[in-house]
């Protein structure tokens, strides 16, 4: 048979370019693959066992060789065997899978945070340092990266197969995922939850850089304004500081140092202040009234974009004293009251 050399070359190239096993590019990948191979082995063993029984009996007891069937009732011993052994194996899978799950979904405390906003049909990545990316994400090797993700519209799912991580990106609530990349290179980002027309176009690339290259990249690609700085402007422009001024007589609770603390609400419940709580308290304030304050805060539902909320959250995170708030307050009210504070130098 004669195959044209052009076709042959095409075939060789085509086969070489095709993948059979994903790259292991994160610290999690080897753990996932280990469980995968364990599961593969028990599947193949199970299949061979059932196959051997079926074919073995079919040959041994086919009608030509074994014309009269011998009726057997069953056997409690055998029933127990094939109940207990599969059960034990499945329980091993359960424990192993659970350990892996907790490993993948429990971010280390020293992880650097990047925000991801999903929308039809793109991924926006926002670094606290003010780098904004679309359908791309730059991360360093050797450092855990936590993604705090939210969707602006429908369910999406952020998946990086070569890292073996994936998490649903949900409208109205933050979800998180983390990874530590090990190999510099570029890897696919897929949206794996069906999200409408361009679902298969909602893809991107993670670029993993060495720490030095990453440092260079952050310096070269910052927008000049960190997320917290954007948040501060938003905070002032929406007049948040009118109530959250931090002074003793303020109508709203003090925000300095609130992030990470435990708050007692009017209904008596205790909450941990994290990103999700802050976002929710801005959008549905009436459900999150700090004890001792009146429910006077209006809802900001529909007035702040998810990006704006991220900026505000980042800003509140960085507030450790009320100095900035008061400074903003003073500036914004400077038309009415001339600043007399000694030590403050106005240009």
């Amino acid at each position: 048979m004669h195959i044209s050399p052009v076709l042959w070359q095409f075939l060789v190239k085509w086969l070489n370019a095709s993948a059979l096993f994903p790259r292991e590019a994160s610290t999690i990948a080897p753990y996932t693959d280990a469980l995968y191979f364990f599961l593969l082995v028990i599947t193949v063993v199970g299949l061979i066992l059932v196959g051997a029984l079926v074919f073995g009996f079919s040959i041994r007891y086919r009608a030509e060789r074994h014309p009269v069937a011998i009726q057997v009732e069953g056997s409690t011993l055998l029933e127990a065997t094939w109940t207990i052994i599969p059960l034990a194996l499945f329980l091993v899978c359960f424990v192993w899978g659970a350990l892996l799950y907790f490993r993948i979904y429990t971010p280390p405390t020293n992880a650097m945070n990047v925000y991801i906003v999903g929308k039809q049909w793109m991924w926006k990545a926002e670094h606290p340092g003010g780098q904004h990316e679309i359908n791309a994400l730059h991360v360093p090797t050797g450092r855990p990266v936590q993604l705090t993700m939210i969707s602006q519209d429908v369910f999406h799912s952020f998946s990086v197969p070569d890292f073996r991580v994936k998490r649903e990106v949900i409208p109205g609530r933050y979800s998180t995922v983390w990874f530590e990349a090990t190999e510099p290179g570029t890897y696919h980002i897929f949206c794996t939850q069906y999200c409408g027309t361009q679902h298969s176009g909602m893809i991107g690339e993670v670029t993993v850089l060495t720490p030095e290259d990453y440092k260079k990249w952050t310096q070269e690609s910052t927008s000049g304004m960190s997320l917290a700085q954007n948040g501060e402007r938003l905070f002032a422009s929406m007049g948040c500081n009118a109530c959250h001024s931090g002074s003793a007589a303020a109508r709203g609770p003090n925000l300095a140092g609130v992030y990470g603390s435990k708050l007692t609400l009017t209904n008596g419940s205790q909450v941990l202040v994290n990103d999700a709580y802050l976002r929710d308290a801005i959008l549905n304030p009436s459900q999150h009234i700090t004890a001792g304050f009146a429910p006077i805060m209006p809802t900001y539902q529909g007035q702040v974009s998810e990006d704006g909320l991220i900026d505000l959250v980042e800003y509140i995170k960085t507030l450790d004293t009320n100095y900035r708030v008061q400074q903003t307050l003073t500036t914004s009210e400077s038309n009415q009251v001339a600043p007399k504070t000694p030590g403050m130098v106005k240009p």
Partner: protein
């Protein structure tokens, strides 16, 4: 009829066997006699025709999907069209083929006969359920003709409620109505099995096919209302914006997932359990041996139905559910895998010491066992929490549920259709053609879906119209397999149609099987039995059958 002292299969002499003069097919004539029939056997035939119609519609969508995926670029159709293709494929196959497949056709036909009853408990409700099914089907077809629907069969909110401009409400109405068909069928089965067993037919003398359908009926009656509710909520959210699932109105989009999967996971067992019932009958008959561990197989059906209700959250492990609830659901998922393993091993040991022949239903049953082991074990992959993170929403899951639904259920359905074809029509299917089609389907099936496991581990997401070029080789293999599979599914349509007129006359009991349905004429009379049978033996009692045949021979002389 000379060698009836042994239990070797013995086709009646084809020259002397004749079709009975009166049977349920020719008892009354005319279209109206079919459309107003209360006869469970005729309703089963109506169902068989309608689900076959929808199967080939759903199959056409599958063919177009595979054709588009031959190349990484979009070339055959636009993204919106592609999205409609997989949505309609899923909706038609799940709600209009798989859910009613075995229960509404074989179950309808056989359950009353297997129990020794004249009909189901509520013949008119049985007919109503077929009309509801057809109405549901028409709504779905209307959604298709009016421009399709592109929600995916899962109707994920808020995509389905706020972001799509297609015929979501029409399709949801279709499923809502078809759901009642399934509830009524389930109700009918439960009442019939409880109340209408012939004298002597105790629970543990019932064929395992009846047990499996009983378990599936419980799931239908308890589960289907929940999907109906969730679809009504989707429709209300779309039309009047009630905000149950809309986060900006204080709703919870995850609530929809909980409601939907609360039905749609048990629905998987609605689909597979009756298929398992078929396999029990077929394996026993062609090994001429009582099913090994009858009680274990019967109770494993009930256990699957019971556990099946408490595993739905395993569809949501990556959706930000509490880690601890994920633990519980993963554990329960592992438990539900055990009864399936029990069944597989019991079937394998039924063969031991049997006297095995390899007619087409048996070939399909063997295919079922192999494919179901793969389908079931890959379910364990997905039930293991950490593994699920990487595998879910990829082609791995697509391959997994096709192994269970097509490799499992469809193979079981075809096994059953071939097995009971002589009883339903009075004629044999052509053996060599049907063996060819069984082998073709098996090969085509594996070629289609095995590459998808690899694609899934590589990370190729499901429902992708355009994909990275490095996935092409495996996709080409899969499409090639789908072509073979298509041939394997078309063949039965042709030769079974042929056999209606030209097939050999089957006689009452061509397989020398023990079920009550094989002790009456083929095709049966409208009332099934000339006199109510009195059951004095266990199911699959081949000695009883041999004894009975021997007596008949001596009486006749």
């Amino acid at each position: 009829m000379s060698t009836t002292t042994t239990t070797i299969v013995n086709l009646p002499d084809q020259r002397t066997a004749t079709l009975p003069k009166r049977h349920y097919l020719n008892n009354e004539d005319g279209l109206l006699s079919w459309l107003f029939t209360g006869d469970h056997k005729r309703i089963a035939i109506l169902y068989l025709i309608s689900i076959t119609f929808f199967f080939f519609i759903g199959g056409a969508f599958a063919g177009l999907i595979r054709l588009e995926l031959l190349t990484p670029q979009p070339d055959l159709m636009a993204s919106d069209t592609y999205n409609k293709m997989f949505s309609m494929h899923g909706i038609v196959m799940v709600f209009l083929f798989l859910v009613p497949s075995v229960p509404a056709t074989l179950g309808n036909f056989l359950i009353p006969i297997m129990l020794g009853a004249k009909d189901l408990a509520f013949p008119k409700i049985n007919l109503l359920s077929w009309y509801l099914y057809v109405a549901g089907g028409l709504f779905t077809l209307a959604a298709l003709v009016l421009g399709g629907v592109d929600t995916g069969w899962t109707f994920t909110t808020p995509l389905s409620t706020h972001y799509l401009n297609t015929n979501v409400v029409t399709a949801a109405t279709g499923i809502f109505i078809a759901g009642f068909a399934s509830i009524f069928t389930g109700l009918n089965f439960i009442v019939t099995i409880h109340r209408m067993r012939a004298p002597g037919m105790t629970w543990f003398r019932m064929p395992l096919f009846v047990w499996a359908n009983y378990a599936a009926s419980i799931l239908m009656v308890l589960g289907t209302p929940v999907v109906a509710i969730s679809l009504v909520l989707v429709a209300l959210e779309r039309t009047v914006g009630i905000g149950v699932f809309d986060p900006t109105k204080g709703g919870d989009p995850l609530l929809f997932q909980h409601l939907f999967w609360f039905y749609s996971h048990p629905a998987v067992y609605i689909m597979i359990l009756p298929g398992m019932g078929v396999i029990s009958e077929v394996i026993s008959t062609f090994s001429r041996k009582r099913v090994f561990g009858y009680t274990a197989v019967a109770f494993s059906s009930v256990a699957i139905a019971l556990f099946g209700f408490f595993v739905w959250e395993h569809h949501m492990f990556i959706m930000g559910v509490s880690n601890y609830s994920a633990l519980v659901f993963s554990l329960l998922t592992m438990l539900v895998a055990v009864p399936s393993a029990i069944k597989i091993f019991n079937w394998a040991f039924t063969l031991q010491k049997g006297s095995i022949t390899f007619e087409t239903p048996m070939i399909y049953a063997f295919a079922f066992m192999g494919l179901f082991v793969i389908g079931g074990m890959t379910g364990v992959f997905l039930g293991a929490l950490g593994m699920d993170i990487h595998l879910t929403e990829t082609y791995f899951i697509v391959a997994h549920f096709h192994y269970v639904m097509v490799g499992g259920m469809l193979m079981a359905f075809l096994a059953g259709i071939h097995f009971w074809w002589p009883k339903m029509t009075g004629r044999m299917y052509p053996e060599s053609f049907s063996k060819l089609s069984a082998v073709t389907s098996f090969i085509g099936f594996n070629l289609t879906f095995m590459p998808q496991f690899i694609l899934g581990y590589l990370g190729m997401p499901r429902r992708y119209h355009v994909y990275p070029p490095e996935f092409q080789v495996l996709n080409v293999l899969s499409t090639a397999g789908a072509t073979v599979l298509g041939v394997g599914f078309l063949l039965p349509l042709l030769y079974l149609g042929w056999s209606l007129k030209y097939g050999a006359i089957a006689g009452d009991n061509p397989w020398q099987a023990t079920g009550l349905e094989w002790q009456i004429q083929s095709p049966p009379i409208t009332e099934n039995f000339t006199e109510i049978p009195i059951v004095d033996h266990e199911a699959y009692d081949y000695d009883w059958l041999a004894h009975k045949t021997e007596q008949e021979v001596t009486t006749v002389g």
